[in-house]
């Protein structure tokens, strides 16, 4: 029991920002009671008083709060009285046990139906009741590992449960993120007010899940993974965040496979046993073999055979597949009775009043009071993000006329539930004029299974309904000093998932991220050269313009049609069509497509990227939407310079912050392969044919596109000549832009990769790279430059380029086959 050290103080001594705070007359206010502030808010009120500079008086902007979160953060936390918290804690732990028992019973003996007289429609008409889960035996009887409870306080001061979220509750990541952001703004206050840290809850929850995974049949080295619907799903940002924080690989259904009834993760290093799965996809999407035999959307998310593995205890799924069966509001009014029968206890925490129409009396009540209740589809689960705080406070009567509604209730009564309209309590938030105002608030609190049984997270997520829509808030609870203090932000609970557990699909994405990054950089440099000459007065540089548009066409960035027009009509045409030339929608590999691809692949591997790196990638993607900023050649140059900077920043972030594991090697392999392909294409375009009159111009361009002008100058201190340029760009192992340099790097990477079959000396990949290495080493640069056929082709050069290109493509295929192919998305 924590002794409250504070006494309340009068509003008359309020800090500036609270002078105009006005509680509603007909609702409970969290901050104010009569003419004083409630005692547990004292530390915060004092802090606001001291903050005369107004340092904390602002909500975080979208830029600051992480992308992909459903609500903006209001930085002022919601404080809960520690004594009151103990009641909530007792009530919610009891509820967690109760709901877990009910789920186990529904999928087991169904005593709640046959002995405790729950109406059959409550289960059998509920689409979340998955028949295929009947007989599901969860390890240790733990079906629910994480439960979120939505709570609201009625005017009498009583907290009521508004919703039980048992399916795959979201918000755990957001709660942590909110705390980290809030803690940055109130660093000392957290300690001073003895606010309990959240980290302990996450650590204990993760410990229990991992331990459970290892006691399943999967074995002591079994992995725990987060099963996500992928980056296209709304919750992905949170999955990536939690994955990073807990050290769990974030996987999709296609990354998992079932062998001998057990679950394995397909990794770069082969199949690894999976013991526990933190499920973040809908139950019905988990197993296309048994749960979604129709072509339901989302069916491709799951893993064939997963349900049977889970139901027979070969993998622990948190929460158990089918857990959504107790999430409906129809069940609410039965909980007091079930608590008494199943646990032998009174239900501590009441629910908001509900009237499920599956019972005749309740149906009659609802029909007689349609204007006074919130009428809902009894079994439809409202996604957290799409519901709002306001819906608890007004009847959202569908527009259908009352008679039709009564008729519908009469015919399928079990589909309807009426809910009491609740006048929620209010709490302060930062309004737009930097003062604090009152608005209705709800709480989302989390109960998790830990090695010591269920525990309530000492904090949570509050949502407040404002004129700017719902905002979220951190929830503060004070406790004993041992649990309190600022969070250790960077500390990962479990050691980072090692690269040996890198899912093959992620490896594939990293490889392509490397390729797209490099390809984009090549395109941007070439465009920059082009616009440079156009800006200098295109007519004097007709040759350069022709060559550069030719290169852009060869590389697929520019369509032939547009290139021809630009050439014929000169600078003015280029200026008029600037944007279309730069982001040519008709070309096969336009800059716009490349930037989207970079963004898409980066998004797929987001949990492997630092937050700063991710921000850089998002910035890159935004560039192609800045059309309104580009009117002249100079604007375009600026944009391209900016892109070059951003691309270097992206490469820098990746190079500096990724561990030197398989993932990083694949990304770098992708870059190197792409760099070789680009070099070969450009050298072929500019040098393969003998064109004596134009050699100097071509060589200069070549060095420019290959970013080697300075290197050449320092090396040769003379105007470019062909042998020098070829030597520098192809053969010189000391030039980081040369083909030789890339080959050496590739060789080193491949040597370290896990699945290289070296039983006959060198693996096939190694042999392939070695063959290019040989060709380059043995090449005679004078012959490359000087052996010219009658048709004017540099035959030696042409042949070397061709062989290098073929070998590089072959290497790419080999990497694909060895490391990624088994990740092919399954067909039906």
């Amino acid at each position: 029991m924590t002794v409250n050290r504070y006494s309340s103080q009068a509003i008359s001594q309020a800090p500036q920002v609270l002078r105009h705070y006005q509680a509603f007359t007909n609702a409970y206010d969290e901050l104010v009671e009569g003419s004083s502030f409630r005692a547990h808010w004292t530390p915060l009120v004092d802090y606001l008083k001291k903050d005369t500079a107004g340092l904390i008086q602002r909500p975080l902007t979208t830029e600051e709060s992480a992308q992909g979160r459903p609500w903006q953060l209001d930085t002022l936390p919601l404080l809960i009285d520690p004594v009151e918290w103990q009641v909530l804690e007792r009530g919610l732990l009891q509820r967690a046990e109760l709901l877990n028992t009910i789920v186990g019973d529904i999928y087991g003996p169904q005593r709640v139906l046959r002995e405790l007289a729950l109406p059959p429609a409550l289960i059998f008409a509920n689409p979340e009741y998955l028949v295929a889960c009947r007989g599901y035996g969860a390890p240790d009887g733990r079906y629910l590992h994480l439960i979120a409870f939505d709570l609201g306080r009625s005017p009498d001061g009583q907290w009521r449960v508004l919703g039980n979220r048992t399916e795959a509750p979201i918000g755990l990541g957001f709660a942590l993120e909110n705390r980290i952001n809030t803690a940055r703004l109130f660093p000392d206050l957290l300690d001073e007010a003895r606010i309990v840290r959240l980290a302990g809850f996450y650590r204990r929850f993760a410990e229990r899940l991992t331990e459970q995974g290892r006691t399943t049949l999967a074995g002591s080295d079994a992995l725990t993974v987060i099963l996500s619907g992928g980056s296209a799903q709304p919750g992905y940002a949170e999955h990536a965040y939690l994955g990073q924080y807990l050290g769990y690989p974030v996987v999709e259904g296609a990354d998992l496979t079932i062998r001998d009834g057990k679950v394995f993760l397909k990794t770069l290093d082969g199949l690894k046993p999976v013991g526990a799965i933190a499920r973040q996809i809908e139950s019905s999407a988990c197993d296309p073999l048994q749960l979604a035999p129709t072509n339901a959307p989302g069916a491709a998310m799951g893993t064939a055979g997963l349900l049977n593995a889970a139901a027979t205890g070969r993998v622990a799924v948190a929460n158990a597949i089918g857990s959504g069966v107790v999430e409906n509001e129809a069940l609410m009014s039965f909980l007091p009775g079930l608590c008494q029968s199943l646990l032998g206890e009174e239900l501590v925490l009441p629910s908001v009043a509900t009237w499920w129409c599956g019972q005749p009396r309740e149906a009659q009540f609802v029909m007689d009071n349609l204007e006074q209740v919130v009428l809902r589809d009894a079994f439809q689960r409202k996604p957290l993000v799409s519901s709002s705080v306001a819906t608890y406070m007004s009847p959202d009567l569908p527009s259908a006329n009352i008679d039709e509604l009564r008729n519908a209730i009469t015919h399928q009564p079990y589909n309807f539930v009426g809910k009491e309209i609740i006048r929620l309590s209010t709490a302060p938030f930062w309004s737009t004029n930097d003062t604090l105002q009152a608005a209705p608030v709800t709480l989302r609190l989390f109960v998790g299974a830990t090695p010591d049984g269920y525990q309530l997270m000492q904090g949570g997520l509050a949502r407040i309904s404002t004129d700017r829509g719902d905002l979220s808030k951190d929830v503060w609870v004070s406790g004993s000093s041992a649990q309190t203090g600022a969070p250790r932000v960077a500390a990962n609970l479990v050691s980072r998932a090692s690269d040996r557990e890198l899912p093959s699909r992620t490896g594939d994405d990293l490889f392509w991220l490397g390729r797209y990054l490099e390809r984009t950089e090549g395109a941007v440099r070439t465009y920059r050269s082009l616009f440079h000459y156009v800006a200098e007065g295109g007519d004097e540089h007709a040759l350069e313009l022709e060559i550069l548009t030719g290169v852009l066409v060869t590389l697929g960035h520019l369509s032939v049609r547009r290139a021809r027009r630009a050439m014929q009509e000169g600078r003015i045409a280029v200026e008029q069509e600037l944007w279309n030339i730069l982001f040519d929608p008709e070309s096969v590999d336009s800059l716009a497509k490349l930037l989207s691809n970079v963004h898409r692949t980066a998004e797929q591997v987001r949990e492997r990227l630092s937050r700063d790196a991710w921000r850089v990638f998002q910035g890159l993607d935004e560039t192609q939407h800045l059309r309104w900023r580009v009117h002249t050649i100079n604007d375009a140059m600026q944009l391209l310079n900016d892109l070059v900077m951003r691309l270097s920043a992206a490469s820098g972030q990746v190079a500096d912050n990724m561990t030197r594991g398989y993932g990083w090697r694949l990304l770098d392999l992708g870059r190197r392969i792409e760099r070789v392909r680009l070099s070969i294409k450009v050298i072929r375009e500019l040098c393969a044919a003998d064109d004596p009159g134009r050699t100097a111009g071509r060589l200069h361009l070549l060095l420019d596109i290959q970013d080697s002008v300075i290197t050449y100058r320092t090396r040769y201190q003379s105007a470019p000549h062909l042998t020098g340029v070829l030597d520098l760009l192809l053969l010189d192992g000391a030039n980081p832009r040369s083909v030789m340099y890339q080959i050496e790097r590739m060789y080193r990477h491949v040597q370290q990769m896990p699945l290289e079959d070296t039983s006959t000396g060198l693996s096939e990949s190694q042999r392939t790279i070695f063959s290019i290495y040989n060709d380059l080493t043995l090449a005679d640069v004078n012959k490359l430059a000087d052996v010219i056929s009658k048709k004017g082709v540099r035959t030696h050069l042409q042949r070397l380029l061709k062989r290098t290109e073929t070998a590089t493509d072959h290497l790419s295929d080999l990497i694909n086959k060895t490391y990624f192919e088994h990740t092919l998305r399954p067909d039906r």
Binding site: V131, T294, H411
Partner: protein, 289 residues
């Protein structure tokens, strides 16, 4: 009567399949009137693993897992069953349908509890439109089994048996609107009509002997694979009705298994890696032995 059954499912894939995971519901059930004398499922190529278990409806599931590359998959189920004659059913002794519906909202014995699971909408049977369609059949006080028989007749009279216009996922309201379909659709429609009135009805999957004797009018069924519905009635238990042929199944219907709708008892559900486009051929033969 003793019947032999052969059910061959043949997939041909455009590209090789590396992994195939199939769930088969191809084992006929043993029932009071149906005795399975022999039964075998053969799969080519040889599966790496084959396991059997029962689903919550009591149907036998066979799960196979193949991990050799293959470009065709052949599943053959052979069975021999002995089917006893149907005792006479005294329709008019069954309780009024409203009474049964009322009792089911609060079941008092095991039989009723088992039945209750079939009394509500299921993934492939939504109830929209069913009440209006069946209005004339559900007259007040009519004995339940009479209702069920009249329903079969109404569907038989008003719907055209037409292959190819529906598929295994066609929703009930679409079938109601089109007034045509195959046995599976007719069973779904009847079940929807019963459930919308609070009555438990299940979907039965099975086979039909279509050519018992030459020169006798053949019964209708798709390649001898057939489906019908069963309604639960206190004292009588589950009673089958075949709306495609407007009769009560007797010795020519082999029961494979049942569920809430087709989705619960589809003969094969599979998940494969690779394969490209696939061709499926199903051949079912039922003979008197």
């Amino acid at each position: 009567m003793r019947l032999t059954l052969s059910h061959e499912t043949h997939y041909r894939y455009a590209r090789p399949v590396s992994i195939s995971h199939q769930l088969l519901r191809l084992t006929p059930r043993n029932l009071a009137r149906q005795q399975v004398l022999s039964h075998a499922i053969r799969v080519t190529p040889e599966p790496a693993s084959t396991t059997t278990r029962h689903d919550s409806f009591g149907n036998e599931l066979t799960e196979i897992f193949i991990q050799d590359y293959h470009d065709e998959l052949i599943i053959t189920a052979d069975a021999s069953v002995e089917i006893g004659p149907l005792p006479e059913i005294l329709f008019d002794l069954s309780p009024a349908w409203e009474q049964v519906a009322r009792d089911l909202t609060c079941p008092t014995h095991d039989g009723a509890w088992d039945a209750a699971a079939y009394g509500y909408p299921s993934p492939q049977i939504q109830l929209e439109g069913a009440r209006a369609f069946a209005e004339a059949v559900f007259t007040p006080g009519k004995p339940l089994l009479r209702v069920a028989m009249d329903l079969a007749e109404k569907i038989y009279t008003e719907f055209d048996y037409q292959g190819g216009v529906t598929d295994v996922h066609t929703p009930v309201p679409n079938v109601l609107a089109a007034r045509q379909g195959v046995c599976q659709d007719f069973a779904h429609v009847a079940i929807a009509c019963l459930r919308t009135h609070g009555l438990p009805a299940r979907y039965v999957s099975g086979y039909l002997l279509t050519n018992a004797e030459p020169n006798v009018t053949s019964l209708i069924g798709a390649d001898a694979s057939h489906a019908w519905y069963s309604v639960w009635c206190p004292e009588f238990g589950w009673v089958d009705f075949d709306p495609t042929n407007n009769l009560i199944p007797n010795q020519k219907h082999i029961t494979l298994g049942w569920g809430r709708d087709y989705g619960d008892i589809s003969p094969t559900t599979g998940f494969i890696h690779g394969g490209g486009t696939q061709q499926l051929e199903v051949a079912v033969k039922v003979n008197v032995s």
